[in-house]
């Protein structure tokens, strides 16, 4: 007959292994955050330094490079990574729905202010990360809330340097969080 301490030790070991497994799996999500962070950094640097008429093209170019890269990486990871999963499908769908929602809201609210336009997109992205965290890894909630706080703070405190702040703080937050995820899962 097993005694209480042995049983408690086994239960503790089971919990520890389950947690370690989830963290190791979540490590892969770090790549998406790094990619998103690099795109964010380059995109907002472009917003700050480029002429206004070039900014749309710049983001278009970045989207043309990074969107297929992200989708390709997601499909490849789902098929051939450490864990074969189809989780990328609902996550991709979630982001697409959120982006459609964001575009619709921008049209409905008729946001003309370019910085306000940027802020609204950032709030949607922050909300997306926070929601994903609620249904997945709770640490992602902090990333989402961090993005929202940084965006709102930059908008009200230093609107003239909003894009620069978002490039380094927002992009930096995503890249840093992504690298942390990659490291934590090892």
């Amino acid at each position: 007959m097993m005694d209480r301490n042995q049983a408690a030790d086994d239960l503790q070991e089971i919990r520890a292994i389950m947690k370690r497994t989830r963290v190791a799996m979540g490590r892969r999500g770090g790549w998406f955050m790094v990619i998103g962070g690099v795109m964010w950094l380059l995109g907002f640097l472009g917003n700050h330094f480029l002429e206004e008429y070039l900014r749309g093209y710049w983001w278009g170019l970045l989207n043309m490079i990074f969107t297929p890269l992200t989708i390709g990486l997601a499909i490849r990871m789902g098929r051939t990574g450490e864990v074969r999963t189809s989780i990328w499908k609902p996550i991709t769908l979630f982001w697409m729905i959120l982006m459609v929602y964001c575009v619709v809201m921008i049209l409905v609210l008729n946001i003309q202010d370019e910085v306000g336009f940027g802020l609204f997109i950032l709030l949607c992205v922050g909300l997306g990360y926070a929601q994903l965290g609620l249904f997945g890894d709770p640490k992602m909630v902090f990333v989402g809330v961090g993005i929202i706080i940084l965006a709102v703070a930059a908008y009200f405190i230093t609107p003239a340097h909003f894009y620069l702040a978002m490039a380094f703080l927002g992009g930096g937050l995503l890249i840093g969080s992504g690298l942390w995820y990659l490291r934590a899962g090892r």
């Binding site: 070991e13 389950m18 189809s86």
Partner: protein
């Protein structure tokens, strides 16, 4: 009262099952991922996977990724049920001893 599952009770197999039940029913773990996660040798992991597969708790699929062989492992419904029953038994021991 639930009974401990002697096959799962073995420490290495307990860890293997704990790792695999963490995945959803549609997910499969790579052999190398599992080996590194649990800090086991190839031989040790293979032996325990075989025991669990023979019991019907796990399923194993061998494929090729390019020219490299790849082994996917996942827990079956029977495995999930057996593991859940084993956890119930452990919890009962802990709680009964407290009363």
């Amino acid at each position: 009262m639930s009974e401990l599952n002697e096959l799962i009770h073995q420490p290495t197999r307990l860890r293997i099952m704990a790792a695999l039940v963490s995945l959803s029913s549609e997910e499969k773990a790579d052999f190398v991922f599992l080996r590194d996660l649990l800090d086991l040798t190839d031989g040790n992991l293979s032996v325990h996977l075989q025991r669990l597969e023979e019991a019907g708790y796990l399923a194993v699929e061998k494929t090729f990724e390019g020219r490299r062989p790849k082994t996917w492992v996942w827990v079956t419904e029977a495995g999930r049920d057996a593991f859940a029953a084993h956890i119930n038994a452990l919890e009962e021991i802990v709680h009964l001893s407290q009363d």
